[in-house]
Amino acid sequence: MQVTMTVNDVEVTAEIEGRLLLVHFLRDTLSLTGTHWGCDTSNCGTCVVWLDGEPVKSCTVLAAMADGHAVRTVEGLARGAELDPIQEGFMQCHGLQCGFCTPGMMMTCRALLDKNPDPTDAEIREAISGQICRCTGYSTIVRSVRWASVHEAANK
């Protein structure tokens, strides 16, 4: 079947198998390997991307379901050389170690800040509670989101 969608603001059209998962479409077909795959069962969240602005786990979304919709991945976070504040926050606060869960974490956290620019620590933890990080122990991720929140507020 043929699908057409916008991925990071670029329209793409491809011939795919109906059963192709969105995560594999992004990684194997479009070579957007920043989105990772980790568990098959929607537990780890390393595959989180946005579908029409909402974070989804792309291992449990068919590429066909994204037909006609807008997808955004970690590759679409920065504006050219300029990192998104959430990316800058993760760097400043050591919110990543191996970097494998990081793209999914940042997509979720960016979406959180878009809805709630000044979240509490508890709200940040709740937002990322469907995702697993094996390296950081989460405190530095919470700090990273706070960093982004504070700096975005200061720059407004």
């Binding site: 568990c39 098959d40 990316q87 170690q97 933890r125 509670s129 094996r134 530095t140 700096h151």
Partner: protein, 797 residues
Amino acid sequence: MTTVEEPKTTTFDDNDQKPVGFGRMLRKEDPRLLRGRGRFTDDVQLPGMLHLAILRSPFAHARVVSVDTSAAEAAPGVKAVVTGETLKGLGLAWMPTLSNDVQAVLATDKVRFQGQEVAFVVAEDRYAARDALELIDVEYEVLDPVIDVRQALAPDAPLIRDDLEGKADNHCFDWETGDADETEAVFARADVVVQQDIVYPRVHPAPMETCGAVADFDAVEGKLKLWSTTQAPHAHRTLYAIVAGLPEHKIQVIAPDIGGGFGNKVPIYPGYVCAIVGSIVTGKPVKWMEDRSENLISTGFARDYIMRGEIAATRDGKILGIRTNVLADHGAFNGTAAPVKYPAGFFGVFTGSYDIEAAYCKMTAVYTNKAPGGVAYACSFRITEAVYLVERIVDCLAAELDMDPAELRLKNFIQPDQFPYTTKTGWVYDSGNYEPTMRLAMDIAGYADLRREQEEKRARGELMGIGISFFTEAVGAGPRKNMDILGLGMADGCELRVHPTGKAVVRLSVKTQGQGHETTFAQIVAEEIGIPPADIEVVHGDTDQTPFGLGTYGSRSTPVSGAAAALVARKVRDKAQLIASAMLEVTVADLDWVKGSFQVKGDPAKAVTIQQIAMRAHGAGDLPEGVEGGLEAQICYNPSNLTYPHGAYICVVDIDPGTAQVKVRRFIAVDDCGTRINPMIIEGQIHGGLTDGVGMALMEMISFDEDGNCLGASLMDYLIPTALEVPDWETGYTVTPSPHHPIGAKGVGESATVGSPPAIVNAVVDALKPYGVRHADMPLTPSRVWDAMRGRATPPI
């Protein structure tokens, strides 16, 4: 030296401006990872690349009667189907494990654990390969499995390893350490003896990235290129040479970015060998990535020790001796990654941080019909089990003596003037100063206030617990006189080249899996040679690009490879000094090294920078007599001893009496890893390990049903902490440098994984004191805590 850091919570200082040396510095690896530009094994895409999928056994123990691959071979997109029989013909059906045992690459005679590799398919894409697995018809004759480790040596137990000649039982090895008679004598005269059975259940490292490989064999060049998820690329290369008979100089192992390792990516797995065979058979690059379930059921597990701990003491709380008896479950093949002479890893440090008179351990290891492994999950070669045993049994003693557990520990610590301290099991602790570390943890926690709060809550029927653990680790394996893996000495090489313009490349044999080597090692070299970290490129994870060494595990990168980096930089600096003396026309002895330049003593205006020296080393003009051009050096560092970091951890839990749910309210970790290179990275390592500790203590366990079905085969069944199960970590530190490490640093990567489980369990048991509970085994899930509250605590296995 002891320094105190205020625990930082949410300070946002931009602080990356430090030009050279140690201190908080943002990571050099972050920009690519933040942009989705990391390169992990599954990101490797090569022209014409095929995909490999593995058929695994549904049974824990069964004879393989026949394997029919005809339908699979005829399936669309399938390029090859390979069985154990095919591999047998190539002499590749079995491979050596890291413990001198053998493991089947693909089963020929029997399957010995659920999830064991039976056949593989190579096809045009991932989906076609998976589809074809369904078409392979395997006939099994199911055999009785050995699942209960306590029954493994029963006379009527089914024999698992009939592949080993003359093997008549499921015995794997016996091991002992310490002095049995001396320990018996000490126990005989002690006022108090406490005994407790303690189980450390099987858990799994479950890194977010599963294991995988891309093999690309070039038949014309005879060269194999293998991208793989390995923590030890050089050791793997040598083993592939031995296993596959390929010449070692024609094998290039590349460990690209790795999505967490925690020990899971130390062994060679059958899948890697299958990918190599797949590429040789098809003449194409072949990718194999296991799925999450395959990772959990077939790759290196951790722990699985059933321990009986005994402690002897005087009535006033002087610990005299510790004794333990261990039954170790090694699964179907002994795949433990530990130095050859240490089949139980470094479990011998079970005497902990205490000055005692005698100790003894006897261990029996057995085979069962479970996945192989044994040393994984940030365990520091079984120190996790040892520390859990001693810190749990010390708490049992405190309860018996009705003594405060902090006071009991303080009373028994090895004293600063006793270092280097030789333990009763023969380990030489290099340095330590335990009391300040313990006191700092108690200060940060507000220990006395917490005890008061607990008393008030107990009076109201609320359940609050305070748990302490104090650990000493042995990390940085190891001195090659007594440590090797399959005959390979545990040393590490390092090469440093300074280019003419003063920029440098340092090449390491170790490999980061998230620990930040590209930053830390640049800082180590910067500190020694005065070139800013930004001007130092760290190259690692490619056997064609780096010197030989044994890789990253057991917290050995900084103790071993970090020492190599410091020493190779000093070697380059020595040469730079010779060149500087010629440039400044003074003798070498007349020069002072002031970070980044050599100055003439007494005349600091006369100086040359390392960058100027680098240009001279490569440029025109004569160099001093006997000095070659260029500015580079290579060394291989053989550590004289391990390093012994220590730490004091305090955990505060609340338990809901209505649901038995444990909530970790606070966790205070004070670590001493000697000289601190990058405090931000160290703190990150600690945080991650503490989270592992919450997982193991409260949630994680790989269990099996009586047929040997793995019950932890997905992340829906094997529970890993999320941000909701862990508190905001509170950390502090003391600094007791290692006397033998060139910069005084000790390893830290596993400290928190080792130290935190006993603190959490001790806290839960402390909370349950009103119920008369003295011990409860991990994982302390609500149902297990509920049972403990009703006097029905049972071991998890």
